[in-house]
């Protein structure tokens, strides 16, 4: 190995790729502009849609309720319900979103309540549809209040104190530190985003310095130089690794900045305590995640170089990258699934292990034995991938595949 040769190749490849618009887009524009836009823009859009849906007064229909003027007038008086005339095809109307929910009252409902009989109320909704859900919730709340009021009235009539129904109270207390709360929320999604950025940041440069060189014919000229093939491939590898890590760093910085801005913007609208809970990220956790990602970046860079080396053209290489992304996404997404938790056997599954341990670190939990095991195994996978890349670069049937 010749350090000078590696430096020369690295320097040239870095300069070359930094002048490439496609690298700039994948390495700088996407992490700095698109990611925060996607995360927080998408988040706030969802928040706004939800708020709007909640503020909207839902159209509901009352079926039945004959001889029950008291209940009907109370329903009509409810401010969060807009009553529309009853119709036979009410289920259809819910499906077609003309009404959001329907309540079916039994005949003589008023009399049943007054007489202390049992009466059943049915609420119809379209499960999974937000606005229908909100309408059903409003109806549900209306009838719960009516029931409570009825119970209270009956007890008072019999001279029993209302407290008899509540022999004790229940209150839930949070012991998780603020960072842990945010971490648990972000912990699932953040490693996924960052691992994907690590992959996409390396993708274009890796294919350009391998399949791209073959296509342009420069591979042949570069191999004619008196530089060891190991030095050549290591120079190229270091550039791809730099692009991958650079993309990760820029993504983290841009997310951090967006988070900071969002926190300041929320400072006016949220109480201080809530702000503490939702908007604190454990910097140590993020740093830990970054270190964990270094072997992953090595592995991705090496794998992508292999894909590029094997391909005859850039286009062919790109077509192999689709399946490769899928292979990377599956274990990373698996880590986000509820209930998938770190254990000894998962600690050796590539990508899944890193995603899981990052989730833990971001939420402030440091399981040192797992961290060491996972870092070790990730380094092992990275070393194997890099060794395979170097080996491949020495194979003439790969370099001159035609």
């Amino acid at each position: 190995m010749n350090g000078r040769a590696i430096r020369i190749v690295y320097g040239k490849e870095l300069r070359d790729s930094l002048r490439d618009r496609r690298t700039i887009i994948s390495m700088i524009v996407v992490p700095v502009l698109v990611m925060p836009l996607l995360m927080f823009g998408g988040g706030s859009l969802m928040f706004k849609t939800m708020t709007k849906a909640r503020q909207e007064i839902p159209r509901v229909m009352i079926i039945g309720g004959e001889n029950s003027p008291k209940a009907l007038s109370a329903l009509h008086a409810a401010k969060n319900l807009q009553i529309v005339p009853a119709a036979e095809d009410f289920t259809n109307q819910i499906v077609e979103k003309r009404v959001r929910a329907v309540v079916k009252l039994p005949p003589d409902f008023d009399a049943a309540i007054a007489g202390g009989e049992k009466a059943g109320v049915e609420i119809y909704e379209y499960a999974g549809e937000i606005k229908s859900g909100f309408a059903a919730e409003n109806l549900d709340a209306f009838f719960r209040n009516l029931r409570d009021a009825t119970v209270q009235e009956r007890l008072e009539r019999r001279g029993v104190p209302v407290d008899v129904l509540k022999p004790f109270t229940i209150q839930r207390q949070n012991v998780a530190p603020p960072a842990k709360v945010t971490g648990s929320l972000l912990g699932g999604i953040l490693p996924y985003i960052i691992i994907m950025m690590c992959l996409t940041g390396a993708m274009y440069p890796a294919l350009d310095v391998t399949a791209g060189e073959k296509e342009r014919g420069t591979m042949e000229t570069i191999l004619c130089c008196p530089v060891g093939r190991t030095d050549l491939v290591l120079g190229k590898f270091l550039m791809v690794f730099t692009a991958s890590v650079g993309t990760v760093v820029l993504s983290l910085l841009s997310m951090g900045a967006t988070f900071h801005v969002a926190k300041r913007a929320m400072a006016h609208s949220l109480p201080q305590e809530a702000l503490q809970t939702v908007a604190t990220i454990d910097i140590g956790g993020v740093a830990g995640m970054f270190l964990m990602l270094l072997p992953v970046a090595v592995m991705f860079s090496a794998l992508l170089l292999m894909v590029g080396l094997f391909s005859k053209s850039f286009r062919e290489a790109q077509s192999y990258c689709g399946p490769l992304i899928l292979v990377a996404v599956v274990p990373t997404v698996a880590a986000m699934l509820p209930g998938v938790e770190l254990n000894a056997s998962l600690a050796t599954v590539p990508l899944l292990n890193v995603s899981l341990v990052c989730k833990e670190m971001i939420s402030g939990a440091w399981h040192w034995n797992y961290i060491l095991l996972i870092f070790g195994s990730a380094c092992l996978y990275a070393a194997a991938a890099l060794a395979a890349t170097v080996w491949m670069f020495h194979r003439e049937e790969v370099l001159f595949r035609s």
Binding site: R216, G217, C224, P226
Partner: protein
């Protein structure tokens, strides 16, 4: 007139010599393919050797073996006094390889490209700048040396390519179908450049399938077909041997196995 040049970098023995050179590829469909099959030839300094053959005859594979891009399956290659299997990197310091197409990095400038290849060839930094000045002035590249290669005309690109192969002043030059796809003017520049290399006493080998080019340029011609070197000699020798003057007629007779 023949000028004798003693090259400082390698000493006087600047030849290419092959002995029973063979390269076998394993192809999934065709099985074992003998792309180069027991070839023997020798190129001398101050001479241009032309490797003449149809597409797929084994020209590029032979040149890639000389340039140590491929390892021979059997047989030996000596380039500038070095064995291709044992000392490939030494050989690479002593050859300039110009292949079909300009093969440049579009996003580097002409100067950056030549500097990159000079550094990879281990040319010391102060010597490198001197060499670049020299090569750029010979090829009249001053006006576009700081322009990116993808913004250059094909003639300019060809000059950058030439400068890249010359920057380490190699005593052996290998040209793989150098004029394929070039316009007349650019092709003439290349042909002139090859002649200049001979003039400077370099050992030159050119592969081509263009008869007129071989006829004009080469001092010695080897005709290759299906990996075998069928005949080898000066143009005059070949004419006498086959009793025809036109190289194309000679080529057809050789390939079709007529005496």
């Amino acid at each position: 007139m023949q000028t004798v040049i003693v090259h400082l970098q390698t000493g006087p023995i600047i030849v290419i010599e092959t002995h029973q050179l063979t390269k076998v590829f394993r192809d999934r469909k065709r099985g074992e393919v003998r792309a180069v099959d027991g070839i023997n030839f020798r190129c001398e300094p101050g001479r241009i050797y032309g490797l003449l053959g149809a597409n797929g005859a084994g020209k590029t594979t032979t040149l890639r073996l000389l340039a140590t891009l491929l390892k021979p399956s059997s047989g030996t290659v000596w380039v500038a006094g070095c064995d291709a299997v044992r000392e490939p990197e030494k050989i690479r310091t002593r050859i300039g390889f110009l292949s079909t197409g300009t093969a440049l990095y579009g996003r580097l400038t002409a100067r950056e490209t030549v500097e990159y290849f000079g550094r990879l060839h281990g040319v010391a930094e102060d010597l490198l700048q001197e060499r670049i000045r020299e090569v750029f002035s010979t090829l009249a590249m001053g006006e576009f040396e700081d322009r990116r290669c993808d913004k250059l005309s094909s003639g300019m690109k060809q000059k950058v390519s030439i400068a890249r192969t010359l920057v380490h002043d190699p005593p052996v030059m290998i040209f793989d179908e150098p004029t394929v796809g070039l316009d007349v003017m650019t092709a003439r520049t290349i042909v002139q450049f090859i002649r200049d290399c001979r003039q400077q006493g370099k050992t030159v080998i050119v592969s081509t399938h263009v008869m007129s080019e071989a006829e004009k340029l080469c001092d010695r011609i080897g005709i290759i077909d299906r990996g075998r070197l069928l005949v080898d000699g000066t143009l005059a020798e070949l004419r006498t041997q086959y009793g025809v003057t036109d190289l194309e007629d000679i080529f057809v007779r050789v390939v079709e196995g007529q005496p």
